[in-house]
């Protein structure tokens, strides 16, 4: 597929995710940092985010399955996931992480588990969306090489 078509497809995909609220305007700023000097900046940033988020979610799963939940750790992890999600324009993901933070600060186990379920669902959506962006970015990059 011609590079122009791929770029157009990518732009339309990003707009679609922004219209759905999966990504916000910060993703445009992130994309603005990519240039010929750093042609895979977006791909690398997303890859870093997804790897880190996977680890954080695994830690949250472990913590929330303990008989005695360490709420300070849950709050820390949820806050960390919120911040990193914001860095890739994932404000909807960040919002559900904030709700998990609130539940953890209230030491409410049931609410934490319910919110964490939402976090997991939202992460799957964000992960799928970002992966599609990475696929197109890689196709554009490969087309240039």
């Amino acid at each position: 597929m011609a590079r122009k078509d791929l770029n157009q497809e990518l732009n339309e995909l990003i707009c679609s995710f922004q219209d759905q609220g999966i990504l916000d305007d910060y993703f445009d700023e992130l994309k603005g940092l990519q240039d010929e000097e750093s042609p895979q900046f977006v791909t690398n940033t997303i890859t870093t985010y997804l790897g880190g988020a996977d680890n954080t979610i695994a830690e949250l799963t472990t913590n929330l399955s303990e008989p005695a939940v360490d709420y300070s750790m849950v709050t820390y992890l949820a806050d960390k996931l919120k911040g990193s999600s914001l860095s890739v324009g994932g404000s909807r993901m960040a919002n559900v992480c904030a709700e998990l933070c609130d539940a953890s600060e209230a030491n409410d186990r049931e609410a934490c588990l319910a919110r964490f379920e939402v976090v997991n669902r939202e992460f799957l959506t964000l992960q799928e969306s970002l992966s599609k962006i990475v696929q197109l970015e890689q196709a554009i990059y490969d087309d240039k090489e």
Binding site: E29, E37, F41, S87
Partner: protein, 157 residues
């Protein structure tokens, strides 16, 4: 997982990337300053370090990043000096306030801002009481850091 790369250079903990800083020093900056500005980013999040470094470098600020307070202290102890230090408020082993306190004890006089997505009650006061100068929202964006840099550049004369 492949190592994170910002602007074509690996993000090394406290070190300039091989072959230049994170961000090509030969590429024209988006903004020029009267003074040479340098920033230290202290953040556990690799994403934030990559993005923050890329943004600040693009705007003409020599930037280094470390992942925790101890590494920041080691860097300062080795003699490194910065126009501005940005510290994540919520780090696991050493909080932003604790890090500020240590840096001030070590004699650091540069402005130090806390980076945060939100602050709990008392956290802001603790950070300021420890010697912090203010706050800046995360993630870093020209919308929030440009005015900080302008004030810094003007204050340096």
């Amino acid at each position: 997982m492949a190592p994170a790369i910002a602007n074509g250079h690996t993000s090394n903990n406290g070190n300039r990337a091989e072959g230049g800083n994170a961000g090509n020093p030969d590429r024209p900056a988006l903004r020029y300053w009267r003074n040479k500005l340098s920033t230290l980013l202290v953040d556990e999040s690799e994403n934030h370090r990559i993005l923050g470094t890329a943004y600040l470098t693009a705007y003409g600020v020599e930037t280094r990043s470390v992942s925790n307070g101890r590494a920041a202290m080691e860097l300062i102890f080795s003699g490194a000096r910065f126009s501005l230090i940005l510290i994540d408020m919520h780090m696991r082993c050493m909080s932003g306030a604790q890090c500020v306190s240590h840096l001030r004890t070590m004699g650091v006089r540069s402005p130090i801002l806390g980076m945060t997505t939100f602050c709990r009650e008392g956290e802001e006061q603790a950070f300021l009481a420890a010697g912090g100068n203010g706050f800046i929202p995360k993630p870093l964006s020209p919308n929030n850091f440009l005015q900080v840099l302008e004030a810094l550049d003007n204050n340096q004369g």
